[in-house]
Symmetry: D2
Subunit: 242 residues, 4 copies
């Protein structure tokens, strides 16, 4: 079984009602959990939010995660550095990581990329979005047409301050004139990272069949059960690990 953990900040404003509830009654994590288990019988799902122990990133959770899906928006900087570094350590040790939508601005993603990944153009007016397949030989693009469309998405545009992706899988087009590298992969340490753009909290993207297919493909791609470990790590180098 592939043990997927879906982490969603699930931020509760003063009224205690996460903005996403009107669209996703069980939260974004609940919606993603539903389609993952429906589409791939070898996946088991755990969900975590910022309200769980250690912001949801306790060691036991991470130890039992093959692939982590990460959605965040508001609380990027609330998560303490030592917890961010812990998740980074797991990712570098072979846990797959899929960063969704506004998760691009998270400390975790910035740490793994080394750049100001929070930087990009954006405006929220629920315009359509057309997602083009760029890398036709990539497993994450499998089973998709040349492009697919979302009726409403937040607009994201270049320049997106990321390292050159190892593979550029998708590029998005927006009617207001933007383009965006919307599906990008990187190998980092023993692990694999995928960033995917759609998923604004008040829009219905996670109900879209193509978005679901991409995320299902990405889980399979990021899953590396036999990735092994660094056999050359001596005590000395261990001592100076981040």
């Amino acid at each position: 079984m592939i043990r997927v953990t879906i982490w969603n900040e699930f931020y509760k404003p003063n009224d205690g009602k996460p903005a996403e509830l009107s669209v996703y009654p069980n939260g974004i994590h609940g919606a993603i959990a539903d389609f993952l288990t429906e589409n791939d019988s070898e996946i088991t799902v755990t969900t975590r939010t910022m309200h769980d122990k250690e912001f949801g990133f306790d060691n036991e959770t991470l130890e039992n995660t093959d692939v982590l899906l990460y959605w965040s928006h508001i609380v990027q900087d609330a998560i303490p550095d030592e917890i961010v570094e812990r998740v980074q350590r797991y990712a570098l040790s072979g846990m797959g990581l899929i960063v969704l939508h506004s998760g691009h601005a998270s400390k975790l993603f910035r740490r793994l990329m080394g750049t100001n990944t929070n930087r990009l153009r954006w405006h929220e007016d629920a315009l359509p979005c057309r997602i083009w397949k760029i890398d036709y030989a990539h497993p994450i693009a499998e089973g998709l047409d040349d492009y697919f469309e979302l009726a409403h998405e937040e607009t994201y545009g270049e320049h997106f301050d990321i390292p050159q992706p190892d593979d550029l899988v998708f590029v998005s087009w927006f009617p207001s004139g933007e383009v965006f590298r919307s599906g990008c992969t990187w190998h980092r340490g023993l692990g694999r990272v995928f960033y995917f753009q759609p998923g604004h909290e008040t829009l219905e993207s996670y109900y879209d069949k193509n978005v679901q297919k991409v995320i299902c493909n990405a889980v399979r791609w990021a899953y590396r059960p036999n990735v092994g470990s660094y056999s050359y790590v001596t005590d000395e180098t261990k001592a100076i690990v981040m």
Copy 2:
């Protein structure tokens, strides 16, 4: 001095009048020659067309070329294989190569890339085109704003069947819904190759200041005067070179 050769097929239909003459009275090669020499005092320009000796690719011309600009459209397949292979050999030996617009479909570019680079979406309706800078650290993008626009261009769209670029410098946006990897670089052998999308023959793109700046930057980037040679080439390996 940087010795630039601009090759333009300059195809003459039955009436003997290349389609580009209404926009470029001295041909596309003439227009490019003008802005290159105006903008970079270390550049000297030679122009060649399909009407010259050996389709313009005689050995003497290539021997005296540091950077070749290549524009073609109609006559892709008229150039004999042995001449295409000769140009390829010079490119692999360190001659810079800048492939412009419909040159993507040339035998030369297909040979250097190994894929069906002729494959892309296109329609000719002179819509606007917005060219986004993607790689902010790339010398070819130097001095440009986040994006620039052309009032009228032929629409090119993905999927563009190219190998993953070494550097993706630009991505274009078109109002009809396409995106396109419009500025791409590759190292091949000792040489450097840049592909740049704008430049339909009946539109004014080569008069645009930003297009001109990109091409000027690209000439500098592709120019490798001290690139040396392969010291390890033995007689035997020489014998089986393409």
Copy 3:
């Protein structure tokens, strides 16, 4: 099932005895077929040599191939261009391709890469070879230690005139002072290409468990059953396909 075709030139000199027979009684193709079917129960194998119809690359064979393994040495240039182009067309259409050892100098590999891939340093003195894992997150490297050794291999050394690999999976070390990018991947069109260095015809590399594991991993990696096709191919672009 994954339909693998193993193509080995199986060149017969004047005495009718391929050099490899002393080490591989059923030919290199026979040895590879044995370990593939032993190690992966979902693989079915067909073998072809230059002595088969159309050099072993008839349309029916290719039509029924998911992944092609390609070993050649002597007859690189004997295969007619139109047959090479046919195999290239299948590779670009999604058939996986694994190029082995001296297959680097084949017309097919040169065509797909666009460079003089025949160029590299080499000497035949059956020295040891140590193959280092470089990309720890790559599926082709799965299950291997930090490095493995072959007691005897032909020495291959840089400069190897290939395009920058999409992923650099292995680098080899040789006691005589050479290094070599020995495991490289590229996406080309809809297909995936892997080059792997070991496999001199008079040495026992294909009996090595690690070499076998790499090739088994590579078959899985190159296999893309749902890769689809180019939906945008119009008659016109079809007409100018290579």
Copy 4:
């Protein structure tokens, strides 16, 4: 003029004598300063060490740096996070960065790469090192032979835990059986980063003509005077910049 700042930790143990003094009487920074100014008349050099104000990374110094050379070994973790982040910010804003030898383990390099770049094999026995040119079209490799040798270097070996380089310029060979990606480039934000392996403090590598040529080439490559800035940075995105 290209304003180069050479930063060398210049760590002073209890006896107050940096280990490097026996080989480099003016420190590693002094030796590098000498050959840079000798070889490139457009370079002006400033040197800084950990003993200078704010560990040598005060704002004024960075503000006046086009390209930073960074050598460190012992004090990696002594530099406070906020200073490391400041240097990172300058690098991402277009200051060229050349990381030398044991600087691979610095917090700065780890931050910019996102991985445990301190991880690699190493042993100090002053064996020879042979550095192979891999990317023949790269400006940093210009003017070099196929390989060059250093009589004595510290041995570095894979696995080196770095993101896949944008360009792999050199790979080193060591007689004890290691290979190492010894010259690597990355674009990060507006800036360019180069890592180069030679330079153990008690060995003479910085006197080697080829090492000097590589570093001179790298300064030119990393220098981006017209790199501009991010015009899209709004107050909001500024607020969440690292």
